[in-house]
Subunit: 211 residues, 2 copies
DNA sequence: AGGCTAATGTCAGCCGCTGACAGTTGACAA
DNA sequence: TTGTCAACTGTCAGCGGCTGACATTAGCCT
């Protein structure tokens, strides 16, 4: 059974998150002060920083959820799949199942708008890229593990992951720039672009020699 | 002939830059306050911000020089070279000629140490990655221009550039992590790694079909 | 009911950064 | 050389993100 205190905390956090994203997407990230966010929820500014380590963290709360969701999907892939194939299936699969997880926290449409803000706000874009880099490092280790390789001596895991990450970033930008902000549109873009690079890199590593 | 006023300005800027980098590399970027930097040079904090738009900008002053140097080297490459080949030659070439340009502003060794700070300071790393992304966009357009392609319809320019950028970032990290901080070491790492990926992507585009 | 602890508010303060205004110093012509 | 103009600088006041310390409130548990 969930205690009252816990429910209250969850409600405050959700309210803060919702207020923050709503303000970010309407008046812009930089134009929004933490005081404003706190005022909407009617708590002190100090309380905001007890829930979120920084203003930035509020913007990235949902993206963090989708990340862990995706990484788990990658780990769950059968080991016989080629690396890029496993990554590909994991993204597409997680796109399908992430919706409900997101919507329990924030309206999907608000999340979409937030992505646009992230991409168009220099400070947030920078943070996003750094996080992507950390994610790629994690993925490289997973891929290396699947293939029985050492990520420090064999560079191929990092290479595929880098290519994969590069494609995903391009897809993100196209999705955000386009009109259709639906998950289906994202699915299609992802599939099409990954199919494009696939042939160039999806060879059977275990049989081929390294470079 | 250079006026006294201009010389004074240049001297102040150099002093601020030097003091900033020296402090960043000894006590760390976050631990260094702008007041401290200004105090070393014996100017007001306000003056610092008249020379550098932000504390960050001081850290990236020299990197910005090397960037423009490199981009110009790429533009100068003969158009018959394949894209990746042109990029490869441009980096290696600019490594050789950038030294003097740097040393006119800051001791080379201080610049090296600064790179380590950038890579190990989250906020700086994030800014560095964002700048890399902007640079890749510029390079993609240059490559597309050379090949007579439209960067918005044909994704191959962005792909090579992304791969190139990915390799360069890996090389940067290895160089910084290693003991040999010389330009020669950087040259070797760059050459070796680019030779590795080359074969996989250096085909003759104009003859081959797009995917 | 009352003690314990988690959650919150308040306050003071640091740091990055900016606008406004005044004072100083170099440039340049009369 | 001197006086005028423009550039450079210092000072000050203030905003916004963020933090530590301490007091207060509110839920939990016996």
């Amino acid at each position: 059974m969930e205690t009252l205190r816990e429910r209250k905390k969850a409600r405050t956090r959700d309210a803060l998150l919702h207020a923050a994203l709503e303000l970010f997407t309407t008046k812009g990230y930089e134009q929004t002060t933490v005081d404003e966010i706190a005022e909407v929820v009617d708590v002190s500014q100090r309380t905001f920083f007890r829930y979120f380590a920084s203003k930035e963290e509020a913007a990235f709360f949902v993206p963090r959820l989708t990340e862990t969701h995706f990484v788990e999907a990658v780990r769950a892939r059968p080991p016989h799949e080629a690396p890029l194939e496993a990554l590909r299936r994991a993204v597409l699969e997680s796109w399908d199942t992430i919706n409900e997880a997101i919507q329990q926290v924030v309206p999907l449409e608000l999340h979409m708008r937030t992505y646009r803000v992230i991409e168009s706000t220099p400070a947030l874009l920078a943070a996003h890229l750094r996080r992507s880099m950390e994610l790629e490092e994690e993925l490289a280790r997973i891929v290396a593990g699947r293939e029985g390789l050492d990520v420090d001596t064999d560079h191929r895991p990092r290479l595929v992951v880098a290519v994969f990450g590069g494609v995903m970033r391009v897809v993100e930008r196209m999705w955000i720039a386009g009109d259709d902000l639906s998950i289906e549109a994202m699915r299609e873009l992802t599939a099409a672009h990954l199919d494009g690079v696939g042939p160039a890199l999806a060879g059977n590593w275990r049989a081929s020699q390294s470079y």
